[in-house]
Amino acid sequence: MTNGHDRVFDDRTPGVEEYESTASYLSYTVGLVLAILATIASFVVSQTDLLWPPGIPVGLIVLAFAQIGVHLVFFLHLGSGSDSTNNILALAFGVLIVFLVITGSVWIITNLNSNMMPM
């Protein structure tokens, strides 16, 4: 157990690098280009009448989700590893909590505001 051979593998499982290294320069570059495009689109949409004006907030939210997706896939490499099931399940739970906190708060407080006495 304690000979030199075992010690080499104490900290690193053999074969890890061969199959874990799914990332590449190309994947990061594609992600960067897509993210820059989404960012520019967001700024353009918010500053011009390219989109039907009442639809601008929805358009911005859609672009934000698209960009977050790009980040998750190309930068965080979610879904490309053999071990991604646990990560995606944890992410789904995180998204659920984030969704509940934000929409719940906005919903309740909007309701509260509209029931306030006019000042």
Binding site: T13, V16, Y25, S42, F43, S46, H71, N86, A90, V101
Partner: protein, 213 residues
């Protein structure tokens, strides 16, 4: 006897079979560490979601003070966004170089990431100082309290990330790219990418939608 078998399991079992779901033997330490750090990042996201919710609720409460459309300079927000985005890119390339055991390349990308992150913080701090100077500090209105809390908390995270980057780069220089250091760098890059994801929410909800209203 049984303990010895467990100790030996990582070397005895072909790791391609280890899926981290109990079958095929224990998952590699690297997978376990990254998963634990991923849980931390998600809990950080939940913390941010509370700040986002507070901002969304308080954005109209300007108490007669300046609104977002009057205060924000979208040109500098765009430059900030690009700084953080490109720093996320160089951070990813740095992590890749580290994984391929190229310390010199890693340090090069690390310096680029640091410079871009510091540029982001500098622009943000300048904006904050300008707003406080014209009387639009955090105590002016509910809107500004929520704004400074949310954007400031993101800035604090970026500052912490930069300090950690210095620390881990020093480790790469002094003790080299050994596996423990590599794992820390992997976690650090996850953290940095996550900060960029939070920033997507910030510039969309705070700056762009604030400007449009």
């Amino acid at each position: 006897m049984a303990i010895a078998a467990i100790d030996r399991a990582p070397t005895a079992v072909p790791t391609e079979l280890a899926r981290g779901r109990g079958g095929g033997g224990p998952a590699p330490k690297r997978t376990v560490v990254a998963y634990g750090f991923w849980i931390f990042i998600l809990s950080d996201m939940v913390m941010f979601s509370a700040l986002f919710a507070a901002f969304a609720v308080l954005r109209g409460n300007t108490a007669g003070g300046p609104t977002g459309a009057e205060l924000f300079d979208l040109r500098s927000v765009f430059i900030e966004t690009m700084c953080l985005l490109v720093s996320s890119y160089t951070c990813g390339l740095g992590a890749l170089s580290a994984e391929r055991r190229q310390p010199a390349r890693f340090l090069m990308f690390g310096v680029a990431t640091f410079v871009l992150g510091a540029a982001f913080l500098f622009i943000e701090a300048t904006e904050f100082a300008r707003m406080v100077a014209i009387g639009a500090g955090p105590s002016r209105s509910g809107f500004l309290s929520a704004f400074f809390t949310l954007v400031g908390m993101h800035g604090v995270h970026v500052t912490g990330g930069l300090i950690a980057l210095i620390y881990f780069s020093a480790q790469v220089i002094t003790i080299g790219l050994r596996t423990a250091v590599l794992r820390r760098l992997l976690c650090w890059s996850l953290f940095w990418h996550a900060l960029d994801i939070v920033w997507v929410g910030v510039f969309t909800l705070v700056y762009l939608m604030g400007d449009w209203h």
